[in-house]
């Protein structure tokens, strides 16, 4: 199979600016993107730099961008990529932010690791250094952790997250999924502390814009978005949720459903923002004109209705703190 690769090359030592180098390769049908990168490095140009190690999707080293989508190079079939994008494939680092590119496809992930560190990504419990038995945990309790502990910290979700693009303080899908990994673990002793941290506006769960890009790119099926939704529920369940525009927004669901049986976005904004709603009038009018705000009987049924209803039920039984 003949494939053309356009690979992002940038060596800050010698290049003024990045450029794309073209490589034409003959590849086996069962090859993955990492094979292609290796072939370029080993046969054509040894100066190409990228990270890689395990080569079977478990270490998280080789995350790169392929035709705009963040992937693990070692898990991405060339054949499937060609079927999707055609025979020219563009390979880039996870971010092209010049300050973060060390060389070629290698980026400095300091911001990613810093956010991960912020959520105290470790079990907080008294550790028995010489235990004679394990914690007894029923399989059902373990299932609560779901896929959250399969996160390999590759950064695919983090560097695709729309919210981070708009708000660099946002913890991001990886750190939030990690938070859930521990709030869902019955052994952890710091659930409230963790939830208080992610309940903060600006950095936490309320700043996810629900684009769901993290679900789409996660190579391990961790689904950080759903973990963030679980955290929404947990802050109410644990009585941690503070009164703010976001939690009021959640409460607004109740009103909306009670009144109409389905969600009414226009009324929801009114409820969440109160008198501040006037700020949104220009957008509201424009949205209405484009048909984005619908009249109640026109509202389509939301795909995530179950989740929404659960959230409403919980928010109803818990008093919000000021």
């Amino acid at each position: 199979m003949k494939v053309t690769f356009k690979v992002y090359r940038y060596n800050p030592e010698t290049d003024d600016k990045p450029h794309y180098e073209k490589y034409e390769l003959e590849l086996k049908d069962d090859g993955v993107l990492l094979d292609a990168l290796n072939q370029i490095k080993w046969e054509i140009d040894g100066s190409l730099s990228y990270r890689r190690s395990c080569r079977h999707g478990i270490c998280g080293s080789c995350a790169v961008k392929l035709n705009g989508k963040n992937v693990l190079a070692c898990k991405t079939s060339i054949k499937e990529a060609v079927e999707m994008f055609g025979s020219t494939l563009i390979v880039e680092p996870l971010t092209k932010n010049k300050e973060k590119v060390i060389k070629d496809l290698v980026i400095d992930k300091k911001d990613f690791w810093d956010k991960n560190a912020k959520v105290k990504p470790y079990l907080i419990a008294e550790i028995d250094e010489h235990p004679e038995s394990e914690n007894l945990i029923k399989p059902a309790l373990l299932e609560l952790i779901e896929e959250a502990d399969y996160c390999i910290a590759c950064g695919c979700c983090y560097y695709t997250c729309e919210s981070i693009r708009a708000n660099k303080d946002f913890l991001g899908p990886q750190a939030l999924a990690k938070t859930y990994r521990f709030t869902a673990d019955v052994r952890d002793q710091a659930k409230k502390e963790r939830l208080e941290l992610v309940d903060k506006l600006g950095i936490g769960i309320w700043d996810c814009v629900k684009c769901q890009g993290c679900i789409e790119v996660c190579p391990k099926g961790v689904d950080p978005f759903t973990k963030i939704t679980h955290l929404h529920n947990q802050v109410f369940e644990e009585g941690v949720a503070k009164r703010n525009v976001a939690t009021k927004h959640a409460e607004g669901f109740v009103h909306s459903i009670k009144k109409h049986g389905i969600l009414d976005e226009g009324m929801l904004v009114l409820y969440s923002e109160g008198a501040n709603v006037v700020r949104h009038m220009p957008e509201a009018i424009s949205m209405f004109m484009k048909g984005k705000i619908k009249l109640p009987w026109q509202m389509p049924k939301s795909e995530g209705l179950d989740e929404i209803q659960k959230l409403i039920e919980i928010s109803q039984t818990h008093e919000l703190k000021d």
Binding site: R55, S61, K103, I127
Partner: protein
């Protein structure tokens, strides 16, 4: 100017063993620097799939675990080391569980266990088929919690070692080639395995065995290097691992005639015979022309009878891998597998407290090793599945405690910036070398040679060819040329240094294998098909001297298990 950093202990490698030791030391108030050429979470410990052994079940017994391990080792394991590890196994597993490892559970809440090859009981504790991942993550997380200093993407290229005493390492930052000397009272190597010397292997790109030859170049012997485990079930072509859990959960092997061929080779244990036995059986079928119809270099591993639910519950990662690399869904059809170079039984010789030996009878001071790079030796000639995570975790921690016990008695030998010279010369030499050879070509030829001539089946004549080939490749290595002469993230340079190490330790594998004129565990000689206890119930201790490997032998430590014929 080269910076000199000081700490009580410097640990090279941040997999399970290195991190377990680091946490132990930091908790006790010692200053520790952990250096890794990856990021700790990228370590190959995370790739382990199937399980970690401990006699936890009511009907199991630590004594049985010891016996299975010694028998599995074909009686080459040091039995004092095996006994210690097996006795401490239950505590070790429960300790990491208490720190957060997400083990799969039985209905009553206890840790679940599955059968593994060569084990008398279902003894492998597991987390679906991502056991290594949960253990590595847990260990790393608790190191973060304890504020362990972990420097990632630092390449350690040399050790400070003189008169039997180690006092630091020399390394450079992969990001920009900044060199530094890390001076310490104690140095621990936990650098993993060396199966990258083989073409078809299950190992990470990082497993280039650097730690072993760094020490060998300073005169430290390497032990039992000829014992390389070939895992029976690597995916056809890539060699990527299909965990033994696949057979533990009931997977069956078939040849092209539809015969469940293990009936011929291990009628009692069938697919759950030890790895060396199953690997030879598979390769025999292939060599004798009964390989798969689609791929004559593979046989079938059939899991379809397990059903989708069980496969998703117990082996989701494997299903995903077979889909990615073979395009086959194991729920619907058998997958194609063949033996793949997998685990390094040999390595840096250590006593049961992790002290590196400078000869069969003498220890070094301030130098330690644990995990796959070390040879303690609990696996002897053949490792049983799910004993490697146990070794890394237990001996990593134990070696940390051992360093702690020794530290007050060790005096710091001061290091200075000048000691970075050997490394700096190596780097400079490689960057400036202007030959004609490509690193990747020499590496390919090395891997081809090792796979075809020092593989599952071995014999004198071909191994001598391998020895000659290695000489040639070592000569050609002096004539290499790098494309990248820059300072920034120069992986071209890194691969060249790593190849140098591979060429060095490969000599130990070949020389050890040529000299061991018997068949034992993973080392199978067609010209000497029988185990020879009279001559070879002993460990290989080999030294690098003037570009040659000199082989000596040392006795095996036997406590209570008298060697007997090994049948399954």
């Amino acid at each position: 100017m080269v910076a000199v950093y000081k700490s009580d202990v410097v640990i090279v490698g941040a997999g399970l063993a290195g991190l377990a030791a680091a946490r132990e030391l930091v908790k006790a108030g010692k200053s520790v620097t952990v250096l890794t050429k990856l990021h700790p979470l990228r370590s190959h410990s995370g790739a382990a799939q199937g399980g970690i052994n401990a006699a936890l079940a009511d009907d199991d017994d630590v004594e049985l675990h010891k016996f299975d391990t010694v028998k599995g080792s074909d009686y080459l394991a040091d039995q004092d080391a095996v006994e210690l590890m097996c006795e401490k196994a239950p505590e070790t597993i429960r300790w990491i569980e208490r720190m957060g490892a997400v083990f799969s559970r039985r209905e009553d809440g206890r840790i679940a266990q599955r059968p593994f090859g060569g084990q008398s009981r279902p003894r492998a504790c597991f987390a679906k088929d991502r056991t290594g991942l949960t253990l590595l993550q847990t260990m790393y997380e608790q190191c973060v919690r304890e504020d362990v200093l972990m420097l990632d993407e630092w390449y350690v290229a040399d050790v400070l070692y003189e008169d039997g005493k180690a006092y630091g390492v020399v390394a450079y930052n992969l990001r920009d080639l900044t060199p530094a000397v890390f001076n310490a009272k104690a140095v621990m190597f936990a650098t993993g395995g060396y199966a990258r010397a083989f073409k078809v292997n299950s190992n990470a790109h990082a497993n280039t065995g650097d730690g072993l030859s760094i020490l060998a170049r300073r005169g430290i012997p390497l032990e039992d290097m000829e014992f390389v485990q070939f895992h029976p079930t690597g995916l056809a072509g890539s060699g990527i691992l299909m965990s033994e859990a696949a057979r533990g959960e009931g997977g069956r092997l078939f040849n092209s005639k539809g015969e469940r061929f293990m009936e011929k080779y291990a009628p009692e244990k069938m697919e759950l015979a030890p790895r060396d036995v199953v690997s030879r059986a598979i390769m025999k079928e292939i060599i004798e022309g009964r390989g798969a119809k689609e791929d004559p270099f593979a046989v079938y591993l059939d899991l379809t009878h397990l059903g989708e639910k069980k496969i998703n519950e117990r082996l989701p990662e494997l299903r995903d891998l077979a889909l990615t690399f073979l395009g086959r869904d194991m729920v619907k059809e058998p997958i194609l597998i063949a033996a793949t170079a997998h685990y390094s039984m040999g390595g840096i010789p250590v006593d049961i407290n992790g002290h590196v030996k400078k000869s069969a009878t003498e220890l070094t001071e301030g130098l330690y090793a644990a995990g796959e790079c070390a040879c303690v030796s609990v696996h002897g000639a053949n490792r049983l599945g799910a004993n490697s995570l146990l070794e890394a975790l237990f001996y990593g921690r134990w070696t940390g405690q051992s360093i702690l016990n020794d530290l007050d008695k060790i005096e710091l030998r001061e290091a200075n910036a000048k000691e970075a010279e050997t490394m700096l010369n190596e780097v400079k030499g490689l960057l400036n070398s202007n030959g004609e050879e490509k690193v990747s070509h020499i590496r390919n030829e090395l891997q081809e040679t090792m796979s075809t001539k020092v593989g599952v089946f071995r014999e004198e004549a071909t191994m001598l060819e391998a020895k000659e080939k290695l000489k040639e490749l070592r000569k050609r290595y002096k004539n290499i040329k790098l494309d990248d002469k820059g300072k920034l993230y120069n992986t071209d340079l890194q691969e060249a240094i790593e190849l140098g190490h591979m060429l060095d330790y490969a000599m130990f594998i070949v020389e050890g294998a040529i000299n061991r004129k018997e068949s034992r565990g993973a080392h199978y000689r067609e010209d000497y098909p029988k185990r020879d206890d009279e001559q070879f119930l002993k460990h290989t201790f080999a030294y690098l001297k003037d570009d040659e490997v000199e082989v000596e032998y040392a006795p095996v430590k036997i406590t209570k298990f008298e060697p007997q014929e090994r049948k399954y």
